[in-house]
């Protein structure tokens, strides 16, 4: 069945559908198995100061089905957050990741939870790929106790230290030196692990990034700088912000790789390559060519600086979920109905998590004064009227 989908043409979508080897001719159960499968990436990698890895990516049905499920979950989660924001249950800032899911899932597939990830404020999906639950996401977005930061952080401040996810940062570019610091600590501790520091095309021009990259290269830190290039820094297109938008080359003496960020398998291959490189040779830059369907945040319609045709064009040609769907169907790893059922399941999971999150209470008033310090020393802190509201910090 799968073989009948093969085409010999050189077009991009066909190379997607053309496995180099396949162990399957029968349809497997929806959960998939680990029998190896090799798939070619949509486009070859472009490299700077290094040899690009092969376009042929080792995968298996289980992994592909997991990619599909995880990305569908993330997509659904972000769209649900959009509705919650419009219903005023989420306040302040809300930066959505739909369209960029392949970067989160592809990266996770290449590494372990002992490797570190740090990103900026578009962090909901990265948090989930590091093991965060939907309840923690929605409760945090709505400022409730069950949130990953107990309601005290908000959308931009998700953390999961036990799986080495270090946030969640609101200041553009700050996360890059922080990530290089994580890499420093990993090397200092001889952990043989790496850090992925994610940033956008807007942050790519930040001076502190180059300061941290210089130090990382000098000290051979296992730091992987990942530019999630969605081509717009808020409302400013990359060509209006960067003299050189070839972000994978901006490291100069630091090698770089340009990756199709809408292809989860390409992301996985690049991250695997980067990890091996960083452990031996120090920092490397990965530029993920990706796209966000939403505007910069919920206060940005995203259509004043981009055409609707552009957005729908990407959705039609490059959507990461559709790519995996086609791959799964062409290899006969599942039926269309089964995949639709997964999407329905995932939708239900999201709806259930939202319902549960809505039940979670807001933090106790006393929580205003907790966690100011790790060790409060019994000092006093004050509310707006210090004669009325005082607390002793534990």
């Amino acid at each position: 069945m799968a073989l009948s989908h093969l085409a010999a043409s050189a077009s991009r979508s066909s190379s997607l559908l053309k496995p180099l080897s396949s162990a399957l001719s029968l349809r497997r159960p929806i959960s998939g198995d680990n029998s190896p499968l090799t798939v070619e990436t949509s486009v070859p990698f472009t490299s700077h100061q290094c040899e690009a890895p092969s376009r042929s990516v080792e995968t298996n049905p289980k992994e592909l089905l997991t990619f599909f499920r995880d990305m569908a979950l993330m997509r659904r989660m972000e769209i649900a957050a959009d509705s919650l924001y419009k219903a005023k249950l989420i306040r302040g800032f809300c930066h959505l990741y739909d369209g960029q899911e392949a970067v989160a899932v592809g990266m996770e597939a290449a590494i372990t939870k002992k490797d570190c990830i740090i990103t900026a404020y578009r962090d909901h999906c990265t948090f989930v790929s590091r093991g965060g639950t939907l309840l923690e996401v929605f409760a945090e977005l709505m400022g409730r106790q069950a949130g990953c930061s107990k309601g005290k952080g908000g959308s931009m401040h998700f953390y999961k230290k036990d799986s080495n996810f270090y946030g969640g940062h609101g200041i553009v570019g700050a996360q890059v030196p922080l990530g290089c610091g994580l890499a420093f600590a990993q090397k200092y501790s001889k952990d043989e692990t790496v850090t992925f520091a994610l940033y956008g095309d807007g942050a790519a021009n930040q001076g502190q990034l180059f300061e941290a990259l210089n130090i990382s290269a000098l000290w051979d830190l296992p730091a992987i700088l990942v530019c999630e290039n969605n081509h717009y820094g808020m409302g400013t297109a990359e060509w209006r912000a960067a003299k050189s938008p070839a972000y994978y080359k901006r490291g100069d003496y630091v090698p770089g790789l340009k990756v199709d960020g809408m292809d989860a398998l390409a992301v996985k291959q690049a991250c695997k390559f980067a990890k091996e490189h960083a452990l031996k040779n120090g920092p490397i830059i990965l530029e993920m060519d990706t796209y966000r369907y939403h505007g910069h945040s919920m206060s940005d319609p995203g259509s004043t600086y981009r055409t609707r045709d552009e957005i729908s064009g990407v959705r039609q040609e490059r959507d990461p979920i559709e790519r995996i769907r086609k791959l799964i169907l062409s290899h006969d790893l599942a039926t269309e109905k089964e995949l639709k059922d997964v999407e329905k399941e995932v939708r239900k999971e999201v709806d259930d998590a939202i319902a549960q999150a809505k039940e979670s209470p807001m933090p106790e008033p006393s929580e205003l004064f907790t966690n100011v310090y790790a060790k409060g020393l019994g000092v006093e802190s004050f509310g707006a009227d210090r004669k009325e509201v005082r607390a002793t910090l534990p």
Partner: protein
């Protein structure tokens, strides 16, 4: 003749009043160096990072000998990129290491202030306790001598206003040792404000202070000189000036109590208020700019907690409200002098004309 010998004896007595049977003398530089050495020896997670801290032995020789002893993995010379290396330090602290990040002076910390405040100070709160940041940012703060406007600012007030930071400022060698050790051991981000002109000053240190387990509590001020007529608060170099002012005031019959704050955040409000409730008069002394300064906070605290006990308005002595000039005479006018503190104390005691000394 007798008066002259009394004058000579008094300073020695006042020193002995402050320090218990002290045998050894130690400079502040030696105090900081030994504290760093001992803490690095005790905990392999502690490391030092900054410009010239390694091969140069430290811009002010505070880290002398440490590179040789601990090696280049733990004593790291950085490029001149404060934003970069401060951020790297905070990231290392996120992971669980205990960095000591040196700013050559705190004027340069402004390049890295986003990491100190947004990446370090606020993280434990924003993450509801997941991300503690056991980092120390240290270096010289405030005016040196003749270094001009861009190299002379005092940052105590700015950093101390920020919840999530602890801000310490030592005066003596005992302070330097005890507070730096406490800062390195503390799980929260600490801004440690030293003073370049104090590095070479010698202070007596007891055996207790010399012990490697010695540590001072964070958030507790020290009463350097007990008195009953007027309270003078100060920190860092100004403590020395306040003590000199107290000697002069004593000759004029005013018995000043000098409080060495040691900790700017948390501020030891209870010690300050207890003192003011005893003396009923307060002078705050600081080197930094007067507006929104440390003295302003102390004054507000005393007005809130001990208003009924004040017999006179609170007096503030601070740096002049101008960028630091270079010319020696103008520079002298831009920083508090001992006579400024004396004059303010007399104003608080309603003494306009100095009385004859009570023998």
């Amino acid at each position: 003749m007798l008066g002259q010998s009394l004058l000579k004896i008094r300073p020695a007595i006042s020193v002995l009043r402050s320090y218990s049977s002290a045998a050894k003398q130690m400079t502040v530089r030696e105090a900081l160096n030994s504290a760093l050495d001992e803490e690095m020896s005790a905990d392999p997670k502690v490391f030092l990072m900054g410009e010239e801290v390694g091969e140069y032995q430290g811009a002010y020789k505070i880290s002398k000998g440490l590179l040789e002893k601990y090696g280049p993995e733990r004593v790291l010379d950085t490029p001149i990129t404060e934003a970069g290396f401060a951020g790297i330090g905070v990231g290392a602290a996120y992971y669980g290491l205990k960095p000591v990040v040196e700013f050559m002076t705190f004027n340069f910390s402004m390049q890295a202030i986003d990491h100190i405040i947004n990446s370090a100070a606020k993280s434990n709160y924003m993450s509801a306790g997941q991300m503690s940041v056991p980092i120390v940012f240290r270096g010289p703060n405030g005016a040196a001598a003749g270094v001009g406007a861009q190299h002379s600012q005092c940052y105590a007030s700015w950093y101390a206003s920020c919840p999530g930071l602890k801000v310490l400022s030592p005066y003596s060698s005992e302070d330097a040792r005890g507070l730096l050790k406490a800062a390195i051991r503390d799980p929260d981000p600490v801004v440690f404000l030293e003073n370049e002109l104090l590095y070479g000053e010698s202070f007596p240190v007891s055996d207790e202070v010399l012990d490697s387990s010695f540590c001072l509590p964070i958030g507790k001020a020290k009463i350097e000189r007990k008195g009953k007529d007027v309270t003078i608060t100060a920190f860092s170099k100004m403590v020395g000036y306040a003590l000199k002012a107290a000697e002069i005031l004593e000759k004029e019959g005013i018995d000043a109590e000098v409080i060495n704050l040691r900790s700017i955040r948390p501020l030891d409000r209870s010690t300050i208020n207890a003192s003011v409730r005893k003396t009923n008069r307060l002078i705050t002394v600081e080197e930094g700019f007067p507006q929104h300064g440390v003295g302003a906070e102390i004054c507000a605290s005393v007005v809130e907690e001990s208003f009924a006990y004040l017999d006179a308005p609170v007096e503030r002595i601070a740096g002049a409200d101008v960028p630091m000039p270079y010319a020696a005479n103008l520079e002298r006018m831009a920083v508090p002098q001992v006579e400024d503190i004396v004059r303010a104390a007399k104003r608080a005691c309603y003494r306009v004309v100095p009385l004859a000394a009570a023998a």
